[in-house]
Structures are given as structure tokens and as C-alpha cells.
Amino acid sequence: MNAALSVDGLEVIFDRFRALKGVSLEVRSGESYGLVGESGSGKSTLLRAIAGLAPIASGSITVNGKTLGKNRDKAFYREVQMVFQDPYGSLHPRQTVDRLLQEPLAIHGFADGEKRIIRALDEVGLGTGFRFRYAHQLSGGQRQRVAIARALILEPSILLLDEPTSALDASVQAEVLNLLEEVRRRRKLTFLMVSHDLAIITHMCERLMVMQSGEAIENLTASQLVGHRVAKDYTRNLLRASEGFVRTARAD
């Protein structure tokens, strides 16, 4: 299998702050790859840099064999799409779902918009009853489904997922994770998924990278993580923390 996405020595600098310090990564075609770390680890910055939303100081990004230049072209956005963390912030407050889904089609000049919108809404389990609603008429889970539909409507091959369920209730999270797995299987998508939750990453991804303060500190497979076969103390700490609160024995 060849690489769908490879990142080599990527540096991102915001006003002299080095948010990413030379990170490299290779995601195979059709694979689901996870990025794990705490806030400030640079995992979201990496995702945004790939999408062209963060200033890249040095390093290179290659998507499906094509090395990206400074500016992303339209062809790039047909290959790579992104789902944001906050479903309340990622939908335009003055646009209906219909308008939101029409926009990418209009930009890329698709003629069969009507059919695609209906299909996209069906695919994310919303149906046409939601087509003319505004974002404020939707629940968090429904909004995230719309965001997924918008990302899928251009039929990309790579989906960047930035904590797509961390703002949702647990039961809604399960539904959205199932939906993501289903569309990935059906469309043979490549996922690059960011999360602070190890359980979600091991559930969704085959391989993962642990990040800390802008650096990659460990590359693991999901089964290595599940089996606690990790090399770094930091990863071990994260694993322990994900098991919940353990009361230290008291003398009394």
C-alpha cells in the first residue's frame, strides 16, 4: 500500500512560538491514523497545517504522491476535507443546511447538486426533513452529522477529524463514531483523527502517534497500546489516566 498522506519535518511557528517542532508522519491509503496528546501537544496544529490553516515554516506535505506548495489549489480540497471539533462553531449561523451543502458544490461547479445534497443527507442519517433547517434548529449530534455531510459531499479520499466527538454527549458520540466508521468502510476513506481520548483512538484507528509539546514522542499500533506495550512514561501516564480515578489507600 502506498502513502495517502506523508508529512516530513513539519515546523509550524506562530509569532516565534514553535507549535510543531519537525514532525514526520506517514498515513497509508485506506488507513485510519490517530494523533494523541494533551492540550498544547500540537496535535490539532498538525491537522490544521495539513489543511492549510496554520503557517508552515518548513517541512513538506505530500498528498497522494503530490507534494503541496505554499498555496492549496482546488484539487487539494477535493482530496482532503476536515471535520471540526465544535459543532456549534463550524456551521454558519445564517445559512440553512441546504445552503451549507450547496456551497462546496457551487465552488467546484457540480451540476447535479440537488441529487448530491439529498444523497449526502441520507448518508449521514439525517434525511431530507433537515434540509432547510438553520444550525440553531439542530442538536449537537445533528450538527456534527451535517458537518460530516459537508466534508463528504466533494467525495474526498482523506478526512481530517479534529476531536469530532469531544463536544458531544456519550450516547451521541457513539452514534457519530459509528457513522464515521461506516462511511470510511463504504468509501474506503483515509482518516487522520485527533483526540485526547485514548479509548476513542484505539477504537477508531489502527496506528497512532503520541505527541507532547509539539513533538512526536512515540509511534504505536492500536494493539500495542491496548496491550500496554509502550516505551515512554508519558504514554503510560495517559493510559493510566484513561482508566478513571483510583483512590489512593488511606491510613484510616
Binding site: 480540497y77 463550524s90 454558519h92 449561523p93 465552488i107 467546484h108 432547510f132 433547517r133
Partner: protein
Amino acid sequence: MSTEVVQSRRDWLLSERPASRMQARLGRAYVTWRRFSANRLAFVGLLIIIALLLVAAFADVLAPYSPTFGDLKGSRLLAPSAAHWFGTDDLGRDIYSRIIYGSRWTLYVVILVAVIAAPIGLLVGTVAGYAGGWTDAILMRITDIFLAFPKLILALAFVAALGPGIENAVLAIAITSWPPYARIARAETLTVRNSDYIKAVQLMGASPFRIVLRHIMPLCISSLIIRVTLDMAGIILTAAGLGFLGLGAQPPLPEWGAMIASGRRFVLDQWWVAGAPGFAILIVSLGFNLLGDGLRDALDPRSGDQ
């Protein structure tokens, strides 16, 4: 039975599942309208403005006398009476009729200024806010230069250069009133430009032009409408001020500011000559202010996203 029809129509408008683009849009407008009409004072403001529009439209029917020709012989400076409701001026013209015709000029000024100044401000502000960097710096410094002069003084300078007359007054007011709109539009743009929904459109591959025009401008428009409405009173007053100074509408046009100017000589003995147009300006300014206040509550983009 008719209450049932009303009820079902309201349900259709307030539906959480609109079935068409039209229904979604109407439903949104209806919610805004309900919020607006819940505010009594704003409603009064709206009535005043509607009345102004009607008066201007039917001035020919409503005015009992000619606005420009008076009876110099028999009816100079008459006090208000049944024949002349607001009295007559020094040229024997009926002030009531002049005020009715004057509403046309007031509307003319207000609408032209809004149509010229608001789009300029919106464009400059959103482009500066979205582009940032040099574009922002240059556009905003130009805005600052305009803001540095008092509005009336700057308008005076323009009119002095362009020559007196109502068209030039409109132009001068428009040129001096766009900078605050640019400021508002820029501030609004800065708050939304880094939001995820604008990032999402960028990730669709949309051009900056498209993002500004279709995604950022619609968000700035409501605060701009509010500001323009609240400014209407100021625009009327500036136009009246220019008219008063003899640089706006020229006699015999029945423009309210010019009417006050010509009436000021008799203000102690024949108060109605300056008082009536003054009162008209007061009422219309009040109407626009109340309307603007109501719109602020109804259109506020931060309240409930509706």
C-alpha cells in the same frame, strides 16, 4: 374558524422542519418580526416612518396649497388657523403644504445617503478585516483621516468645493458618513473571520472574494442596518444644517433645514415659521431612532442566532 387558519399559518411559519427554502426564510423573517413588534416604542418608530413614506408619496393629494407660490398680498406670516394649519411664512406660502412636500426631500437625502455610504463602508470594512496586513492598514488609515474631521465641517468643505445644492449636500454627507460603517463592518469581520465556519468554507476552496461576499457580509449587514437607521436622524440634521447654512437645498425648495433658516428672522414673533419644520425634523428623527433601537433588539446577531 379564521383563528384556526391563523393558528395553522403561524405553525407553518414557526415549523422546526421547514420543507422548502421559502418556508425557512419566511419563518426566520417571522421570528424577527415577532421580536421587533413586541417592542412597543420600536413599533411607534416604524409607524412614524411609514407615515413619512405615505406623506411623501401622496404629497400632491395631501397638500392644500402650492409649496412654492404664496399669496404675497393677503397671507404673509399668518398664525396657525383652520385655513393654514401651521400658518404661513414671509412669502405667504402655506407651511403645512411646504412641510408635506419637504418630506420628499428629507427621504431623498436619507435614502441616497444610505444607498451610497452603507455599501462603501461595508465593502471597505469587510475587505480590510478579512485581508488584514497591508490592505487593512491602508484602508483603515484612510478611514481614520475621514474620521479625524468633524462631520459637518468636512461636509461643509465638500459642498464649498462642489457648490451648493441638494445633490451635492447628499454627496458630501455620504462621503463623510461611511467611515463609521467601515469600522463596524471591520470589527464584525474580525470576530467571525477566525471562526470554524469561515475556516470550513476556506477548506471548500472558496476564493477570498466569495468568502467576503457570501459568508462575511451577510453577518455584518444586520449591525450595519441598525447603525444606519440610528444615523438617519443625524443625516437629516446634517442635511438640515447644511440647508440652514445655505449650502444645501436652495430656495424655493421646501427643505426643512432651509425652512428653519429662513424662519429664524421671525422666530420671536412668528415662532411657527421655524417651529413647524423644526418639529417635523424632531418627529422623524425620533421615529428613526426608535426604529433603530427596535431593530437592534430584533436583529442582534448574538441573540439566539435567529
